[in-house]
Amino acid sequence: MAISRIFDISNRSMQAYQKAIDITANNITNASNPNYSRRRLTLASEKTQTQNGIQWGMGVTLGTIQRVRDNFVDNEYRKANQNFAKADKKSWIYDRVEQLFNETSGSGLSDNINQFFASWNELSTNPSSIPLRNNVINSAQILSSKIEDIYGGVDTIAKDVITEYELKVGELNNKLSQIQDYNAKISNAYRTGKTAADLEDSRDVLVDELSTLVNMNVHYDKFNSANISIGGVMAVDSSTALVFESQYKDGKISLVVPDKNLKTTIKQGELGALTEVYNNEISGYKENLDFIFKELVSEVNNVHSTGSTLENPPQTGINFFDEFVDGKLKLNSLIENDPRLIAASSDGSEGNSDIALQIASLADSQTIDGYTFNQKYINMLTEIGNNSQAAKTSVDSNEILKEQLDNQRSSYSGVSIDEEMSNLILYQKSYDASAKLVKMANDMLDTLINMV
């Protein structure tokens, strides 16, 4: 009968709009939750019935509750995040390296090298002067302690990089096991025909955080399990999550799965940054400095050993430096105790300063690949500066990209209070109208009954 149909329709529509208001309320309360994707209710028309050749509409019915999320934008965001995180981490490491080689304060390594050669130059005017000889020893000692400081600093940075790496690997494993947990729950839900929007939201947060750490690819299977591969290895699906470890071999770090003997190549994210800088650059700093100072020791000694000391009778064949090993520039301990053993003279007479002049002129001799000692060091510093500048530029540009993609995501999945409020009004009015329908149908029925 038509009137009972009205009751039916109104009943269902009130339920539908109640549910719609419910969902809107959920959206509104989660408006400031950054990890929430808005839910959207689709209302559909109930299937029409045909009776007596007339088609009767059956009202509204609840459609699906959609979780509004764009996987494509998500993927793009995660890629940008990987790049940004890598550049950011690199920038952090380079900042520390730059602080180590602090040259602009006027007491950097370059200055010490200059001062060392200048002290020989000054000795040449009065080679028998003990104070000037002590100056030479002093400037060599200052140079030596500066080099030791720098090597110590590089070691500290290397250690910190390894510590940070291991910390991040721990985080990685943690997240992977959580994701696997969610994957299992979500797969189960989908298998039984249900949805799991809240679980998916939480999982998306974890996957985003994962993209900060490593380069990865996400693939959703038919039961909506996020299967993630990291650096060429399938790291997590609905049933398993691999446990990664850091491996230190031949002075290089890498990420491996020891149980299954799997190796990975990590190129992005924070782990990518740490790997790249540690493997390719940190060892290079020490190597370059080694090269420069070993040459310095050898050149100075070559000249010095041909000179004669200030003793009576003068000795010859004495080295100024003992050796340069492990970042320690060792002066000949005999010279440190007795400045007269500095061989400034070429012919044994105390006023002759030819050897001191020759050593001083080593400052300008282009012995290392056509560069002087100082220039070679400055070249190394310039390279560090260039790398650091490149990392900073990369941070800036990737940050902008990441923000744009985040905005896009927000625009698509975020809650707009204005929109929800206007929907609320709509649903409320519809609910009122449906309630009114019931009242009207009631009145009509009353009229009919009272007729009898």
Binding site: E103, E122, N126, S128, S353, Q375, G385, G414
Partner: protein, 297 residues
């Protein structure tokens, strides 16, 4: 485009952050008055600045060397000029001695020659900063002195011919001493000291100086005058080098300033602009962020 509330607040924070970060950078540059605080600020600039610093340090070292050498040479010049005065006096006395009437005063002349000789020997042993200026590179003892029985003047050190070299420019090394060997020659009896000693002995014995003796002294005088002139030239060369180093320093300072110092006016203007932009962002935020449909329902 669909704009959510979160986007609006997120964007606000992002732009505020960018604004504040450029303000912070400007502040540190203004406070330190340096453009380049670390290598990444400008790698090429830093390389230039460090190379220039290196040059300046070298120049400072050269200037110290020049100053030391100038003092040394000045002492040498002064001593040589005093010697020359002494020798000039002796030569004047020779012409007096030629006058036969002065023969009875030979003994007195002998004393005067002795006094001149002792003066010359003393001057030959002048010291500067612990170095005997005519000793070459051997400072073990005074170069010239009387022997034990005062019968001759001998060279006390093994050699007076060493050269004191000093670097005054990158590729310039010059000799700054007057070696005893060069000035007085070999001490073999015909040198100035022993010639004067011979003349004094002769005078004391009532004999006048021979022509050869006088010639030795006059030759020495000429040689001394030439040496004084040469040393004077060397002084000029040192002072010229110092002037050049000073002007080079000015140029290098200018270059360093250009590379490394900030344009204070420009930086302050930028700072003000950024601060103004920050104020405007804040005001805008207060107007937009608070509104929504709910205010009007």
């Amino acid at each position: 485009m669909r704009v959510t509330d979160r986007m609006v607040s997120q964007n606000l924070l992002t732009y505020l952050g960018r604004n504040k970060s450029s303000i912070q950078e400007l502040q540190s540059k203004i406070a330190s008055n340096q453009k380049i605080l670390k290598p990444s600020d400008s790698p090429t600039g830093m390389s230039i600045v460090l190379n220039l610093q290196s040059t300046m340090k070298q120049n400072a070292s050269f200037k110290t060397n020049i100053d030391n050498s100038v003092s040394f040479l000045q002492t040498t010049l002064d001593t040589m000029e005093s010697m020359q005065t002494e020798v000039e006096n002796v030569i004047v006395k020779f012409s007096e001695m030629k006058n036969v009437t002065n023969k009875e005063f030979y003994s007195t002349y002998g004393d005067q020659i002795q006094s001149a000789l002792e003066s010359l020997i003393e001057m030959s042993g002048t010291e500067f900063d612990g170095k005997y200026i005519f000793g070459g590179t051997d400072y073990s003892d005074k170069p010239y002195a009387f022997n034990s029985d005062q019968s001759a003047v001998v060279q006390q050190v093994a050699s007076t011919e060493g050269t004191q070299n000093v670097r005054i420019r990158k590729n310039t090394v010059i000799k700054v001493n007057v070696a005893g060997n060069d000035l007085f020659g070999a001490i073999d009896g015909s040198d100035i000291f022993n010639s004067l000693l011979t003349i004094k002995d002769k005078l004391k014995n009532g004999e006048g100086p021979s022509d050869e003796d006088i010639k030795n002294v006059k030759d020495f005088n000429l040689y001394l005058l030439n040496s004084i002139s040469a040393a004077g030239n060397r002084m000029n060369r040192l002072e010229d080098a110092k002037t050049q180093l000073n002007s080079q320093d000015l140029v290098v300072q200018g270059l360093m300033s250009q590379e490394n110092e900030i344009d204070l006016a420009d930086a302050i203007m930028q700072l003000q602009t950024q601060q103004y932009a920050l104020d405007v962002s804040y005001q805008l935020a207060s107007k937009i962020n608070q509104r929504s449909l709910m205010d009007y329902l």
